[in-house]
């Protein structure tokens, strides 16, 4: 089963602690070596982003940055056997932030990506 994890955060000023970056690299290596990390990427700051919205007023195109306190930071795609496994990997990632970057606040959303098994005919 494939899961997409999207990380949103309010980062303290300044670069992330070297210790955190090291721990993140090691965790990434663990997940890769466990054969479960398919893809990942870091996102440029939201000031580079564009939002295209449709609402009652029609279609609008707005340049970043946006009003929200938390912005999109990165994504990971996991290939795992259960939701809990995806949550465990994402949880390890979040624990590193909690332990190694004071003042950091964020959230990771773990979502299932539909796969062929979701559309398998029954019976």
């Amino acid at each position: 089963m494939r899961y997409l994890v999207i990380l949103k955060a309010a980062q303290p000023d300044g670069p992330p602690p070297a210790e955190l970056m090291e721990a993140i690299a090691k965790l990434g290596m663990d997940a890769t070596n466990a054969g479960v990390m398919l893809d990942m990427g870091g996102l440029a700051p939201a000031m580079n982003s564009v939002r295209i919205a449709v609402d009652a007023g029609g279609l609008s195109v707005v340049d970043g940055p946006f009003a929200e306190a938390k912005e999109l930071i990165s994504y990971v795609v996991y290939d795992v056997r259960s939701k809990e496994e995806a949550v465990e990997w994402a949880g390890r990632f979040m624990r590193l932030h909690r332990d190694l970057w004071q003042g950091w606040e964020g959230e990771a959303e773990v979502s299932r990506v539909f796969g062929p098994e979701d559309f398998a005919p029954q019976g």
């Binding site: 054969g35 259960s82 949550v87 796969g115 062929p116």
Partner: protein, 422 residues
């Protein structure tokens, strides 16, 4: 059922940690059967404690420390392992159990080596093929006996016995928990790769039963292949196997229609191929090519799969290159199946008559008398040559030979249709 259901959390952590745990325990007690038993006991302890006390922040080291205590307990108490006591006692002296040790283990670079040793003994040539696949899924995949039984459509007791016998054989033959010596490495690695590909294929083209694919087996084989690639990054054939499995997996979506009927490669909607897996497959193939050396069977098959992956349609496929790759493959790894596939490629590159000549030679060799793809390939080539009646006969033969229900439907439908099939 929520993401915080403690039992499911334990299970998830278990699946992540089981292989490492069993690998390290095997190094300690020098017996994969005993190691697996201790690991299972540890799982039971976690299942009892975590739902009450919460999941430890760092569950891996917790499991390892608990397992080590458990190992000592078990060794002290069990008479039937009495003859091993001296040996194990020595092993435990070398690896004293304390908190610091658990921390050290978490940082231990040899972890990877232990896992690799475990892979090599699970796929050891002293074991039967069935024993190797069952043991591999059990100790490396963390699959339960029941899950393995379901995947292979056999009774749970059968799988249980295979695993028990496999462990006994390893113990009786005194198979050491070591990496193969350099002069045996190639041979032993081949055995590992074959086991993984066998598991993958069992899932990809289920040889029997109602399902065209059993995706769990494919995923597990692919995952273990990726693990192996991380452990042996210098082996081109490992990357070749991973590339092959990634690319074949990329077609999963396109291989069945809405009703579950199978769609063959030539008829698949390529827009439904999984680009992420193709990209990963091509990257793995590129790594294999960087390493270079003599082209092995898995790198060659990955090259062939990559030709399909890169092509936008059957017509735009580089069939000449595929035919040439099959010719090389037939020298590296002589096999009537590869020769039959070459017949298909030559049929596309040079015309059906040329392809049929090769297919007929395969038929004359009698090596594939029970193989449904042989009449199916001949049927396709005959149809292209306008020999409709013979073609239908061959499709009927293919339908009669296959044990896969979905495949039978395809062949039967083609046997029943009057128009030439392309």
């Amino acid at each position: 059922m929520t993401a915080t259901d403690p039992y499911r959390v334990v299970e998830a952590v278990w699946r992540i940690e089981a292989a490492h745990l069993i690998a390290k325990l095997t190094r300690m007690v020098r017996d994969v059967g005993l190691a697996e038993e201790i690991a299972q006991d540890t799982l039971v302890i976690a299942l009892e404690q975590w739902p009450k006390q919460g999941v430890p922040t760092d569950p891996g080291p917790w499991l390892m420390a608990t397992a080590k205590h458990r190992a000592i307990d078990l060794v002290r108490r069990r008479i039937r392992y009495g003859e091993k006591l001296a040996e194990i006692g020595r092993a435990l002296e070398i690896a004293p159990v304390d908190e610091q040790d658990a921390v050290d283990d978490a940082l231990d670079d040899r972890v990877g080596d232990d896992l690799l040793r475990l892979i090599f003994i699970s796929c050891h040539p002293v074991l039967s093929t069935e024993a190797r696949t069952a043991l591999t899924l059990r100790v490396l995949g963390g699959l339960s006996t029941e899950e393995i039984a379901r995947a292979f459509l056999v009774a749970e007791s059968t799988v249980g016995q295979r695993i028990v016998r496999a462990k006994r054989t390893l113990a009786a033959k005194r198979v050491p928990f070591e990496l193969p010596p350099p002069d045996q490495l190639a041979h032993r690695l081949t055995s590992v790769l074959e086991v993984l590909y066998l598991i993958f294929n069992e899932g990809y083209s289920a040889t029997a039963g109602q399902d065209w694919m059993r995706p769990d087996l494919c995923r597990e084989a692919l995952r273990l292949g990726r693990v192996l690639a991380g452990l042996m990054p210098e082996q081109a054939e490992v990357h070749g196997l991973v590339a092959l499995m990634e690319i074949q997996s990329s077609r999963t979506w396109a291989r069945t229609d809405g009703a579950g009927a199978a769609i063959l490669l030539g008829d698949q909607d390529r827009a439904r191929w999984d680009r992420l897996l193709i990209r990963r497959g091509l990257a793995a193939l590129a790594r294999a090519q960087e390493i270079g050396g003599i082209l092995g069977p898995f790198v060659l098959q990955a090259e062939i799969a990559a030709c399909h992956a890169r092509a936008r349609s059957t017509q735009e496929t580089d069939w000449s290159r595929i035919a040439a790759l099959y010719l090389v493959l037939s020298h590296v790894w002589p096999s009537p199946v590869a020769e039959l596939n070459r017949a298909v490629a030559v049929g596309m590159a040079e015309g059906a008559a040329e392809g049929l000549r090769i297919a007929d030679r395969v038929q004359a060799s009698r090596a594939l008398d029970q193989y449904p793809q042989l009449p199916a390939v001949r049927a396709d080539l005959l149809a292209k040559l306008g020999r409709t009646a013979e073609s239908q006969q061959e499709y009927a033969r293919a339908a009669a030979l296959t044990r896969n229900a979905k495949e039978r439907e395809i062949f039967q439908a083609k046997a029943d249709s009057c128009s030439p099939v392309d």
